[in-house]
């Protein structure tokens, strides 16, 4: 039986992982799962810990002893954990990977390439070549990363192609949370009321889960809803969400960047400069700032060009 299917025991944990409910994943213990699924659970737990910026080395060590045959996996997770704790210094693990051997390696290497080396193209290559040789319909995460990379570079067409590839997969693949998340992104960016509101409800539904102990998870969902509501131009609702988000005392670059857009739309951009300086502190490399600089530079040229004529 497929452990990921909706009656399988990994179904819930996977849904939680891919909808950023990392705190919940931390609460699981391996004993709750049957032995054949424990490795996957441990992987989720380690990655969740890293996502929550906690040290996962103890978990990794326990994993190494529990699953002595999975040396490669734990080496990868260890490198991933170290990357978060110590940065890229002295680390060569990811640099050495030219062709991914297994799913998580492809995923994390691609993320590494983008985050630390800003090499989106290479990341896409790693993922594409991994996917091309894929025979396992359960390995869906590379698709997710690939879609995000395409969409981050504004290439909706390529993202759409990736999604279409799922048509060849069995129905179960399309029931997977990974597919639903990936589809939600594409639909949102495709636009049109129907699509956006469907995506809105998808995240709104996820929000109905209990988030009392997981402000991070809640923030991520609300942040998504913030973007979608703004996209639908429902400004009073955006304002409500903004209040809720601020109450959580968590922030992110994307959140601030989207606030800038909201400020332009409802407040004539009065707070835009202040928000930009906040953004510069939180995420100095955010594309919003890069675009702002680029556009300002372009504008400088324009001012000059027409003044001289």
């Amino acid at each position: 039986m497929d452990a990921f299917a909706d009656s399988g025991e990994l179904y819930t944990i996977r849904n939680q992982f891919y909808t950023n409910q990392h705190r919940k994943i931390q609460e699981y213990s391996l004993d709750q799962f049957s032995p054949e699924n424990q490795l996957k659970v441990l992987e989720y737990k380690i990655r969740s810990a890293v996502a929550l910026e906690e040290d996962a080395s103890q978990l990794i060590d326990s994993g190494k002893s529990l699953f002595p045959n999975q040396e490669g996996l734990f080496q990868l997770l260890s490198a991933w954990n170290d990357l978060k704790s110590f940065g890229t210094d002295d680390l060569t693990y990811f640099d050495d990977i030219k062709l991914a051997q297994f799913e998580l390696q492809a995923v994390l290497t691609a993320i590494y390439r983008v985050k630390f080396e800003k090499d989106v193209e290479l990341a896409i290559n790693i993922l594409t070549s991994y996917i091309d040789n894929l025979n396992n319909f359960n390995e869906l995460e590379p698709f997710l990363v690939l879609v995000q990379l395409h969409l981050a570079t504004g290439n909706l067409q390529a993202a759409n192609k990736v999604m279409l590839a799922f048509q060849k997969f069995p129905d179960s693949a399309r029931d997977s949370i990974v597919y639903q998340v990936l589809e939600s992104w594409i639909l949102a960016i495709k636009g049109e009321s129907d699509n956006i509101s469907n995506v809105y409800y998808f995240y709104d539904e996820l929000l109905s889960a209990d988030f009392d102990n997981d402000p991070q998870g809640k923030f991520k969902l609300l942040n998504m809803l913030f973007v979608l509501t703004l996209q639908m131009k429902h400004y009073p609702e955006v304002q409500e969400l903004l209040v809720q988000l601020k109450d959580l005392n968590i922030t992110s670059g994307d959140f601030i960047a989207n606030q800038i857009t909201f400020d332009y739309l409802t407040n004539g951009g009065a707070q835009a400069d202040e928000l930009r300086s906040q953004l510069a502190k939180v995420d100095p490399e955010h594309q919003c700032l890069a675009e702002f600089q680029e556009k300002n530079a372009q504008f400088d040229d324009i001012v000059k060009k027409y003044q001289t004529t």
Binding site: I189, Y200, Y201, E205, F299
Partner: protein, 1210 residues
């Protein structure tokens, strides 16, 4: 279960009722002796039949012939003709009141039962009684033939129901197959029982059903099963079963509280319906003998119930008339998704029809166990994301919805497993994972997720009666007199339309229009609920669907009709059975019938396509249809004439008379002439002559006059044309015709004096002839006349004669046709002549151009100063001054339209669409193409100083950008905000450009600064508004006009305030300039109260500086603008004092009565005719020497440079 009343008549007590088998008619027999024939569909009384004396208790139609039969308290049976509407004959024999009469389904027999305790059978062809069935020992209240077998059932107050076998009678009375009877046949007939022990002949009692404790009022057979139902005074309805040898009581339905007068089987469903004098109609489950439903009337006892033989209709008689009703709706619940139709069939099973394969699936799900046994599925909504349906059933407080997942593989009607249910009178999906249910009793709208959990509860207004589907995220709230488009997520009413009692809605395929259906009205509106058209139907409207081209097809009880968006409508097809249209594709109309089956009806869409093409001026299509179809008929010709296309109509017509009329109407004289020749009728010729004369076609006029021998007119025509030659001929003709009067006329025209004299002589008017001859110097002729008259010259006394009259010569050559402007052939004529349609231009006829009635943008500037004009004096010190010129700026010098930018950048995705679709500078800026934006602004408006626009550029760029967060550690995904999220055509994707909505608010802010005397701040606000509009996109001309109006206003305020600031900056010695600037300020186009400020400043400054003439003028202006209040008093005083002196101490350059503009750079007047240059964005005027400099109003544009003008419309 619901009873839906279709018709009700008001009359005295109705005792008998019967349905016509095919037409929408009911016969009603009344206690008052009248029989009525009603059309229950139209609700009209067709006829009344009065021949009986006393009450008529029974009536029935013949199943096939145009006959009906009635029986009354006058002991007679009457047979009536529906053709002549007369009684044909009466059958006499019964000795007491008649209780029941009916025709046999096959044989020429009538069955009657009477209070004389007999049942009789009559042959209505030979009008003989053929049998008298005795046996009942009390009144026989009802008797009926079996629908197929040779049986009769009767019910009597003797407490029994009897079944009679009449097969013997049939044998006896059926005609022999041949004249020579076979021996066997004779033998068989002899062996038939001739008489039973009671003396009955050929009809024997088969069963006697005993069980009722009191008299039995009614008994009837089941239409197909061996069952009997009976109704008795013991308040019971009894069900009986029979077989070949015996009959027995099955069960009893208890519940009535009075005598049950009648009970029948439902013709299609396992139901029994009974009526009683307890004023109720009750419906029973035939299989379980349990009550299903009861309907009560307050005052009327029921007497009889009858069912329609084919349709789900029942009629019942009561104390004050009859009522026709049906049980339950018959509209199969359905929903369309892409090319599939999901519907509930007659067996309460869900089926799917594939439009692309024209194939109905097997039943996939059974809904029998959803809700109560007899509850009907009212609506169905489909959700593709989890392949599920949402159905609603039940009425009123018991309304429920059920949310069920459809099986993945269709294997037959399986029972649903995972049913999520809840309360609701309406439910539909509003997104892939949300649905709404409307609870009528509490007027709440519940938003639910796929787990059936309520995520939101919305309390609706108490006037909401129903909810209908409104597309993604929206529903339509139906009120008694309105429909509201409601956004569920925002809980916001988006739009409202006034429309009464809407029941259903049909959305067009592109979601742009919707049709709201009520019983007799269809209202078409846009998606924003703006009324497009509305039409009334006398027959009930049942359904509607849109075809791909936006034509609405709808069905009434008996027609399929169409309606165009302009309200033109017509019939496409007549229906024999009512259908519900679900989809229209080309010529196929996919319908559901009342049995819950898909019917595909092929229609001819030519007529509506033709009309639509004509309305949309798609002449190529019109022409194609003309050439390829056989569209004819008076209807279409009348339509074309009405729409002003007689020349098109001409193409359809062959009848010469119609062709002639059409040709005259469209001024085609050649066609008219040729048709007139064919018709050769005086009236026609005359019409042609009139039309030809109107057009100045003299040739045809002449021809026509010749044809109708209108010689006088012809002569006059020749006179007018100066055609003396033909005039002479006309004289000759007149001579030949011996028409002296005409000849006389002609000689007058040609001034042929001699001939005129001869004419006068001929007619014996010698004195006149003599006078004429003499006065024209024809002395010889005069002498001859005298001779003939036998009078000598001296006897004649003539007045003094002047010079002979001369005929004027034509100035020009003989005129031919009246010169007409060269006509161009109409589109159709050209196309029909050349056969080419492709290259013909129809742009001139574009309805948009002509129809657009561009109203001036009406800016409602909410100016707080309007409320209290006095207050503003606080900030505006009276002692200070202002001034203005009123100006009407000419349009900026227009240069050619700037080139459309060639996009070198190959952008993909959303930004790619935006760039490809961009038509405005703002569109390019939002897409990030700043260089193109700048170039466009430079060419359109002469923008050269871009720095002030930097914030607006960045605002426009950033306002449509979003960052969709995904996996941590990866950059966010680029997301965008579109101007219109409802748009699904990528060629119409545009970015959201903010700014238009709050322009007025910002103007108000500017006015507030003005009021507070914060002039530099006010100028900054107005200038920022200009920058916003510089980079803005608007939806239509009206919005563009509004922007232009605001630009004009900003210009005037900036100019006025700049002058005022300049005035305030002057030294105390510069009085002349001070007075001038104050005067000019009054000429800035400020809003009312603000202008008074300016006038007041000018007035006080002038007065203070002894310019009394000017002061008087400004005071007069103040009074004209505001006749009362403190300011007016002051103005009056100043005016009175100034008028005493009425002189200016200092001469200034200001003529209050001259029109002038003000140079925005020098603040001096530019009088009419003086050279000036303009700026392109706001239209500011400058003296010529400022050409090329930066505009002081906008601070961004160059003065007097070539510019094509502002373009804001996307």
């Amino acid at each position: 279960m619901k009873m839906l009343t279709k018709f009700e008549s008001k009359s005295s007590r109705a005792k008998g009722v019967a349905f016509h088998p095919t037409r929408p008619w009911v016969l009603v027999s009344l206690h008052s002796s009248t029989i009525q024939l009603w059309d229950y569909r139209m609700g009209t009384l067709i006829d009344r039949f009065e021949d009986h004396e006393g009450p008529v208790r029974c009536v029935n139609f013949h199943p096939t012939q145009p006959l009906f039969v009635s029986g009354g308290d006058d002991y007679t049976i009457k047979v009536w003709s529906l053709n002549t509407r007369k009684c044909i004959f009466s059958l006499n024999g019964h000795l007491d009141y008649l209780r029941a009469v009916s025709f046999h389904h096959d044989l020429p027999w009538i069955l009657s039962s009477s209070d004389d305790q007999t049942i009789r059978i009559w042959n209505w062809q030979n009008r003989q009684e053929i049998a008298c069935l005795t046996g009942h020992n009390h009144y026989v209240m009802s008797a009926q033939f079996h629908p197929k077998d040779d049986l009769i059932i009767s019910a009597s107050l003797d407490q029994t129901v009897r079944v009679w076998d009449i097969s013997g009678l049939r044998k006896k009375h059926s005609a022999p197959t041949s004249s020579a009877r076979s021996f066997e046949d004779q033998l068989q007939r002899q062996q038939l029982p001739q008489q039973d022990i009671f003396g009955n002949v050929n009809a024997i009692v088969k069963y006697v059903l005993e069980g009722h404790d009191k008299g039995v009022n009614y008994a009837t057979f089941h239409p197909t099963l061996p069952l009997i139902v009976s109704a008795g005074d013991d308040r019971l309805v009894k069900l009986w079963r029979m077989n070949a040898t015996t009959a027995w009581e099955v069960d009893t339905c208890r519940g009535h509280t009075g005598n049950v007068l009648s009970a029948i089987f439902h013709p299609q469903q396992d139901l029994i319906i009974s009526v009683a004098d307890d004023k109720t109609i009750r419906v029973w489950d035939m299989n379980r003998r349990t009550p299903v439903k009861q309907f009560r009337r307050e005052h009327d006892r029921f007497w009889l119930i009858a069912s329609h033989p084919h349709i789900n209709l029942f009629a019942t008689c009561h104390d004050s008339g009859v009522m026709v009703f049906k049980l339950e709706r018959e509209r199969p619940a359905h929903a369309i998704f892409q090319n599939k139709l999901f519907f509930v069939n007659g067996e309460k099973q869900v089926q799917c029809y594939d439009f692309s394969r024209n194939e109905t699936s097997l039943p996939m799900l059974s809904l029998k166990k959803i809700g109560k046994t007899w509850s009907f599925m009212r609506s169905l909504s489909y959700n593709q994301s989890d392949n599920s349906i949402l159905v609603t059933h039940g009425e009123g407080d018991s309304g429920q919805y059920a949310y069920i997942t459809l099986p993945k593989h269709v294997t037959g009607a399986i029972e649903p497993t995972d049913i999520r249910q809840g309360e609701g009178n309406f439910a539909c999906f509003i997104s892939r994972n949300r649905f709404v249910s409307f609870v009528k009793s509490s007027k709440t709208l519940l938003v639910k997720d796929t787990n059936n959990n309520t995520t939101k509860t919305i309390q609706l207004d108490s006037s909401v009666n129903d909810v209908l589907s409104g597309g993604p995220g929206r529903v339509l709230l139906v009120k008694t007199h309105a429909v509201v488009n409601y956004d569920v997520q925002q809980r916001k009413e988006l739009a409202e339309i006034s429309v009464n009692n809407v029941k259903y809605v049909s959305w067009s395929n592109d979601g742009q229009h919707l049709a709201l259906l009520s019983k007799h009205t269809i209202t078409i509106a846009t998606k924003d609920l703006e009324l497009v058209t509305s039409m009334h139907e006398t027959i009930r409207i049942k359904s509607a669907a849109w075809d791909d081209s936006g034509v609405l097809l709808y069905s009434t009880l008996n027609h399929i009709k169409y309606s165009l968006l302009n309200g033109d409508h017509g019939i496409i097809k007549t229906l024999s059975n009512t259908v519900y249209i679900t989809k229209v594709s080309q010529k196929q109309v996919y319908c559901l019938n009342r049995a819950g089956e898909v019917e595909v009806i092929t229609i001819d869409p030519t007529e509506y396509r033709f009309k639509k093409s004509l309305v949309n001026k798609n002449f190529n299509e019109v022409l194609r249809i003309i050439k390829n179809s056989n569209l004819v008929g008076q209807n279409i010709i009348a339509y074309l004439q009405k729409k002003g296309y007689p020349e098109v109509a001409l193409q359809f017509v062959e009848d010469p008379e119609t062709r002639f009329d059409l040709a005259v109407e469209c001024g085609n004289l050649q066609v008219a002439l040729s048709e007139a020749k064919t018709l050769n009728d005086n009236g026609i010729w005359k019409k042609l002559g009139d039309e030809a004369l109107k057009q100045g076609n003299l040739e045809i006029v002449e021809f026509v006059y010749q044809q109708i021998h209108s010689f006088d007119k012809l002569s006059f025509l020749y006179l007018c044309r100066g055609d003396s030659e033909r005039l002479a001929k006309m004289a000759t003709i007149a001579e030949h015709r011996r028409d002296l009067s005409s000849l006389m006329q002609n000689t007058l025209y040609s001034n042929d004096v001699k001939k005129r004299c001869q004419t006068l002589i001929q007619s014996g008017m010698l004195p006149l002839a003599y006078t004429l001859a003499k006065s024209n110097g024809l002395d010889d002729l005069a002498a001859d006349i005298l001779l003939e008259a036998g009078i000598s010259e001296d006897k004649v006394v003539l007045p003094e004669l002047g010079r002979p009259c001369e005929l004027p010569k034509p100035v020009e050559n003989t005129i031919e046709h009246w010169p007409l402007e060269d006509t161009t052939l109409s589109f159709f004529e050209t196309a029909l002549l050349t056969g080419k349609v492709e290259n013909l231009s129809i742009e001139e006829e574009d309805p948009q151009n002509g129809a657009e009635d561009v109203t001036r943008a009406n800016i409602d500037l909410d100016d707080p100063m309007n409320d209290d004009a006095e207050e503003e004096e606080d900030a505006w010190d009276n002692a200070d001054d202002l001034s203005i010129p009123d100006d009407e700026f000419e349009d900026a010098e227009q240069s050619n339209e700037i080139d459309v930018f060639q996009q070198s950048a190959v952008a993909e995705g959303e930004v790619g669409y935006w760039l490809r679709n961009a038509k405005t500078a703002a569109g390019y800026a939002a897409a990030g193409a700043f260089e193109q934006t700048a170039s466009m602004l430079n060419k359109q408006l002469g923008v050269v100083n871009f720095e002030p626009l930097r914030p607006r550029f960045l605002e426009v760029y950033q306002s449509s950008k979003l960052y969709l967060p995904g996996i941590d550690d990866l950059p966010a995904m680029k997301d965008y905000i579109r101007a219109d999220n409802d748009e699904d055509n990528p060629n119409k994707f545009h970015p959201l450009i903010p700014g238009f909505d709050n322009l007025e608010d910002r103007l108000s802010v500017g006015f507030k600064h003005f009021k507070a005397n914060q002039l530099p701040e006010a100028i900054k606000v107005f200038r920022d508004i200009i920058y916003t509009i510089t980079l803005l996109t608007v939806a239509d001309d009206e919005e563009q006009e509004k922007c232009e109006e605001i630009l004009r206003l900003c210009r005037e305020y900036i100019l006025g305030l700049s002058m005022e600031l300049a005035r305030r900056a002057l030294g105390p010695d510069d009085i002349k300039r001070n007075l001038e600037l104050a005067a000019y300020f009054t000429r800035a186009g400020l809003q009312g109260p603000h202008r008074i400020n300016a006038l007041q400043v000018a007035m006080t400054q002038s007065f203070k500086n002894k310019n009394y003439a000017s002061a008087s003028y400004f005071a007069g202006e103040v009074l004209a603008a505001s006749a009362s209040g403190q300011r007016a008093d002051q103005a009056r005083k100043i005016k009175a004092k100034s008028d005493l002196i009425s002189k200016d101490a200092i001469e200034i350059d200001f003529d209050p009565y001259a029109e002038f503009d003000i140079c925005c750079a020098s603040f001096t007047p530019i009088y009419k005719g003086e050279p000036s240059v303009s700026e392109a964005l706001v239209g500011a005027k400058y003296k010529e020497q400022y050409k090329g400099q930066l505009c002081s109003i906008t601070k961004i544009t160059a003065i007097g440079v070539p510019a094509s003008g502002l373009r804001l419309k996307s």
